[in-house]
Structures are given as structure tokens and as C-alpha cells.
Symmetry: C2
Subunit: 415 residues, 2 copies
């Protein structure tokens, strides 16, 4: 029995997970037909409320939103659900230890969509002192055949510079790379693998092509429990797009085992930041255009002008007459959730709906906000020294590693 303040009842988190996977015979077929959301497939028009119900997560009520440090992604409903959010908020409010885990799979250069959760984490860290853990799963990217270890190593080093450029507080931030921190991650994963059967992994993740991918959920569980293993039992929030919720639930089931001195990690569940070309997930792989963190202002402007899906009308006359639709305009979503912090947003929406603001003008606003954001990011990144030196203050110390292994019941063989 877990002694965590649990909101779940008879069935475990991943029991519920199993019912949501397309292969599960108990899934409601009518429901499934409407849309599919798993960590590996997002299809159909997503009904976020129905998804919440299907996943059994808590809505992010107005009261909860109010208790978070102010941030557009929370205030304006990009993150709209969660698990054990109250526990996190209580700790944040009372100054007790609390943590955020927000990882990165280094399969390529990072784009805008990848870095925004890191900036949110930095904001929460600054406001309430949250410890932030950033695990990089180079092992998983190799196993998922997204490149050789050499190529993934290149991406990892590049991504690390972007993560460092975010400007986390080194005292309260730990960055972990699975292969470079294998001395810690592997023994922890073996310890947690005790609780992960092949059947559970297959139910949540589907059939895996290699035994490495089958094992990886144990590594991911180690990531999500790391703050508690290093620094003791504490609420941990994992901000992810809602399609990644099954990963969190697998770890929650592992965390509930009585012999682990941890509580279940919570989740902050988000909508999908739409691809530039329209609804769906923003992706750095494939052909979907995206805004890279290294893009210069001209490239950003060109990418947005050429590819951004707008809520504008077919002709200028029609737009002036009927007005645009901000709810489907991709750039408006960007402004809404990330880049337009003050009351300008409502004015922009109104003028767009009224036909006073044209799509091109909305694009120009977004281009300005995004290039400003990127310029600041690139400036910080440009100032970074040699990677290993910069990373050092963010790596787990030997004492922290030892403590984590001891808490997990995997004390070092040689002391």
C-alpha cells in the first residue's frame, strides 16, 4: 500500500491505462472511433474534456489555476488537467520541498514547442523554489532507431546547450543524461523494473521491437522518481502533453509499491501545441515545418508567413466583413498560451473576430514576439562556455547519487 495521498481507488493507474490503448478489448469502440490519443498516436479531433474523463485525471479548476504562479499556459488553459496537483500546490504554498520533472528525447535539434515547458518550469522554480529535474533519454532515442549513438550524442550536446540557455538556478536544477549518468540511472531502473511486467509495458506502450525498449519504462520511472530519491519524499509534478499521461501512470503504479520511500509523481496535463500547419502535434521529425531554436528572425518570419495555419478568411473583403476565427488560428494559440502575457490578447482576439486585424497583421505580431523570445534565448546560449564546464553545476553530485541509490535500496557495492 502506498501511503501517498492517493485519489485513485480500486484499480491501479495502469489498469486504467490498459483500457485506453487501442489494442485493449475493453475499450469503448464508439469512443475510440471519435479520436485516439496514446503516446504513439494522436488521431481525430480531440475532445479534451472527454479525454480527461477517459484518462481519469483531475480538471485544473479555477481554484487550482489561481494557486499556481501566474503563467499564460496555466491561466489560459493550455494545461487543463492533472494528477495530484493539490499536493504539489500545498507544498509550493507552504515552502515545503516540491519538484518538477520535464525531460527531453534528444532526437534532433529542439524547436519552440520543446523549450516552452522548460521555460514554464523555470518560471515555477523562480516563483516557488521548485527543484527541476531535466532527464535526457539518449538511450531511448537510440533504441527507437532515431539515429546512431554518435548522431544522438551530437543532438544531446546541442540540446544540452539549449537547456542550459533557459537559465535554471543551478542550486535547484539537475540535468541527467541516461548514458552519461548510467552509474545512477541503471541501478535505479533495475530496482524499479522489479515492478514492471512485460504485460504492463505491452498494455501501455504496445509491442516493442527490442528488449531495450521494453526495459525503458523502468528508466523513465527512475527519471520521475529521481527528485524524491535524491532529496526525500515530496510532491513532484510532471508537465506533459496529455498523450504522455500513460508514462506518468506507469510510474505512479511503480511508486505506489510499499517498499519505495516515495509518493506517486503528479502530472500537469496539457493540450497539444498545434503544428504550424494546423491541428495535431508539433513535430521536429518528418516534414512538418517548425520554428527551430536556432532560427534567425528572417527564417522565423519566412516559416510563419509560408506555413502558419490561420483563422483568416479566403479574401481580404470576406475577412473585413465576417472577421477571423482566433480559435483555429495557430499563431493566436501561440500568443495565447506562451507569448502574450498581458491583456493585449483579448484586444487582439476582438479585433481579429471583427475583421479589423488581418491574418498578416496577426502573423506580424507573432513574428515579433517569437523572434524576441528566440533572440533572448540565443543570446544566453551564445554566452555559454565549454559544455562540460557549464553543465557541471547542474549534474548530480556524488553525495546525491549515493543518497538516491541508498533511498532506492541499491546501496553501492563498494561503499
Amino acid at each position: 500500500m502506498s501511503d501517498s495521498d492517493d485519489t485513485d481507488h480500486d484499480d491501479t493507474d495502469s489498469d486504467r491505462t490498459a483500457r485506453e490503448t487501442p489494442t485493449d478489448p475493453t475499450a469503448n469502440p464508439a469512443d475510440e472511433q471519435a479520436f485516439t490519443v496514446t503516446p504513439y498516436a494522436v488521431e481525430g479531433t480531440i475532445d479534451y474534456e472527454k479525454l480527461l474523463e477517459r484518462f481519469g485525471a483531475e480538471p485544473l479548476t479555477a481554484d487550482r489555476v489561481e494557486r499556481f504562479p501566474d503563467h499564460p499556459a496555466i491561466r489560459r488553459g493550455f494545461f487543463y488537467a492533472g494528477r495530484d496537483v493539490d499536493r504539489y500546490l500545498e507544498a509550493a504554498e507552504s515552502g515545503d520541498p516540491h519538484a518538477i520533472v520535464t525531460g527531453r528525447g534528444p532526437s534532433g535539434p529542439m524547436h519552440l514547442g520543446h523549450v516552452l515547458p522548460l521555460y514554464l518550469a523555470k518560471h515555477l522554480q523562480r516563483e516557488t523554489g521548485a527543484t527541476v529535474y531535466v532527464p535526457l533519454s539518449d538511450d531511448e532515442k537510440f533504441l527507437a532507431k532515431e539515429g546512431s549513438f554518435e548522431a544522438i550524442g551530437e543532438h544531446t550536446r546541442d540540446n544540452l546547450r539549449d537547456i542550459l540557455a533557459v537559465g535554471f538556478d543551478p542550486e535547484r536544477t539537475r540535468i541527467v543524461v541516461d548514458t552519461a549518468d548510467a552509474d545512477l540511472i541503471y541501478p535505479l531502473a533495475v530496482r524499479l523494473a522489479e515492478y514492471l511486467t512485460p504485460a504492463t509495458v505491452e498494455a501501455v506502450y504496445g509491442q516493442q521491437g527490442t528488449v531495450g525498449l521494453q526495459f525503458y519504462p523502468a528508466v523513465q520511472a527512475a527519471h520521475l522518481l529521481l527528485p524524491q530519491l535524491v532529496a526525500g519524499r515530496q510532491p513532484t509534478l510532471v508537465p506533459v502533453a496529455i498523450d504522455q499521461d500513460p508514462h506518468v501512470r506507469v510510474c505512479r503504479d511503480v511508486a505506489a509499491k510499499e517498499s519505495l520511500p516515495v509518493e506517486k509523481p503528479g502530472a500537469l496535463l496539457g493540450r497539444f501545441l498545434p503544428s504550424l500547419e494546423g491541428p495535431g502535434k508539433m513535430s521536429s521529425s518528418g516534414d512538418a515545418p517548425s520554428i527551430g531554436l536556432a532560427d534567425d528572425p528572417e527564417t522565423v518570419a519566412e516559416t510563419i508567413r509560408d506555413h502558419a495555419y490561420t483563422g483568416g478568411r479566403a479574401t481580404l473583403e470576406e475577412h473585413r466583413e465576417k472577421g477571423g476565427d482566433p480559435s483555429v488560428d495557430v499563431l493566436f494559440q501561440y500568443l495565447r498560451y506562451c507569448f502574450e502575457p498581458d491583456d493585449d490578447l483579448e484586444r487582439i482576439a476582438e479585433r481579429y473576430r471583427a475583421g479589423d486585424l488581418l491574418s498578416g497583421e496577426l502573423k506580424a505580431i507573432a513574428i515579433e514576439r517569437i523572434t524576441d523570445f528566440l533572440a533572448a534565448h540565443q543570446r544566453r546560449r551564445g554566452k555559454l562556455d565549454e559544455l562540460a564546464t557549464e553543465l557541471e553545476p547542474y549534474r548530480l553530485t556524488d553525495a546525491e547519487r549515493r543518497r538516491a541509490l541508498e533511498r532506492a535500496g541499491v546501496p553501492s557495492i563498494l561503499g
Copy 2:
């Protein structure tokens, strides 16, 4: 394609393995009924010649035996088969690099049967300069639920002292503990896991209870390829009881992948050293009595007197008249394969068969040989200083770790 001097033809090693597992529908039922030999079950009366045929290994011909450094376990047929033995012998004869891997699963104190392969490896090292790798799979023992990590850690430290007491040459010996050397072992295992499908693992090892055990064959493949990854392509011999051959074959298939700069590890396949109480495997788990490495002479004598299965007759008169049967006498097997190096053996056998030598007298000879052996082992063990200090010269250096990771195509992220 592997460029190793391969004796295998169309099918891969583990294709053949699959046919030998009890769950495989293509196994010959008549053959299966006679006896079963898998890494997890040895049943029935073993026909070693038939087993050889079934496994598709090479017999250890008189010519091969002649080319090995003289040792009773080889000369007298305890090791009676192998894979790619000629390649190993060629390198040993011509002074080219060659290696032996002989591991230990630290699930309890070591007994006599566990340490004998290590003494064989030491002998081969002394005679031809073989590099010896000794991996300790504490991860696997935890995953196989043979104890908590704390308990397995205790056994690991205890077993390490016994391994150190063998007296390997530190210049040519590397001892590896999976959790303590995870910085190296985990990235290598991930690299090799690329080639291990769940189906392969299940065919060879059966269904596994956790994803950790499913992943473990990748760790074991890392063990067997370690000498080549550290020091370059070279023949590697893995001396194991024949029931462990499937482990070697899985690794041979992995090694055959063209992107790995290694050749398939070879095997030296042995009979089972019988349990004191009779045919079957000697085991430190369960209730079977065994001779522990820490036993004092009185305990050894008592254990042998009370439990050793003899080839003697029911009564003294009958024994004098009909003679004993050395071929089923457990202590005679011990003397034959390990402890009676010179021509005394044949005389002992003759006198036993003739009824001149009584079971009790044979026991007395064995007790003397075994206690002498243990006394020398215990003396060396007793001289050891603090474990970490003693182990240090046997651990992989940072340069060796880096080289192994580079050869495997897993260069360190941070240089």
C-alpha cells in the same frame, strides 16, 4: 555478415537454440522425453553426446585437448565440447591476444563448484597469457528475486574476496560488477539490445516476469564482448556448463552483426559437476549440501561423510567381493576433474573397482585433497586487505572504459 571464422551455416545460433527449448513446438518429443537441458532446468539422465548434437557444438577432440595447457578438467573430459575453440587455441599458441570470460551470479556464498572454473581460467592465464574477465551479475540476481540489493550486495562483496583469492594476474584480469560498473555496462547493453528482440529472448530464456530480466541478455552480451570492446577483436572463450550454452549462442548472434567490431565469442562446454548427493547440478540454493569455500576441515569432512553419494556397495563384504563403481561415485568425479592431477587417479579407480579401496577410504582421499585446496584458498583470502583497495588493480581504467564505449559506437556524451 560476421567475418569471424564461423562454423555455423544457414541458421543463426539462436535459431537452433529455439528448437531446444521445451516450449518450442519443433523439438523432437522423443528426444525431449529422455532429458531436458536448458539454462533453467536440467532433468533426466543426460546423454552428453546427444546433447552435443542437439546443441550443434563441436566435440573437444583429442587434438584440441592436446593443444590446451594441461589441466585435469580438460585432459579428463570434464570440458568435452565447445564453439570456435580452434580460433582461441590458434591465438593462444601464437601469442596473439585471447580472452576468457567467466562470470559469477552473486546470489550467495560461493562453494567449490563455483570457484573451479576460476582456477581453470587462472591456469590458462598463467600458461598462455589469456586476459580473464570476471563479470558479477548482481542486477540479474536481484531481478531473479534471489534477494534484496542489500543482501546481494553482501554476497557480491563476499564473492569478490573469493575471486580475488584465486590470485589472477591484475595486469591481465578485469573484474566487473554490473551495478558498480553501470557507467560502462548499461550503455553497452543498450547498444547490443538493438539486436535482441523480445521474441528471441523468450525463445531462449522463456517468459520473463519483469522487463528487467527481459533486458538482462543484453547485459550478458556486453559481458561476453567486453574483452574485444576493451582491447580489440580477439578470440574469447567462455567456459560454462553446457546448460548455459544458449546464453553464449544469443551473444554469438549479437556479435555477428556487421556493425560491431568483434568476432563471435567461443565456448568451452562442460559437464555438470554432480551434486554431493548424486547426479544433477551442484547448487548453493535450496537444501542440497555443498562444500563452501569458507568451510573448515571438520565441516568439509562431515559434509562429505554424511552426504557424498558413493559408488560403493551396500555392505563391506559386497564391496570387497564386487568392487565399487567409480563412474557414479561423486568424490571420484571430483578427484578426476579437479583434485588428482597425476597418475594416482587410475590406481585409485582400479583399487576401487577391485574392492580394495573402500568408499570411506576414497572419501578420506577426497577430504584431504579438498581441504588442502580450501586451506590454500582461505589463506590467500585471509591475506586480503580492504576490498576496494584490493579490487582497484582489477577494475577497468577510465581509458579502457572510454575505448570500449567508442568501439561499441557509444562515445561518451561529455567526452
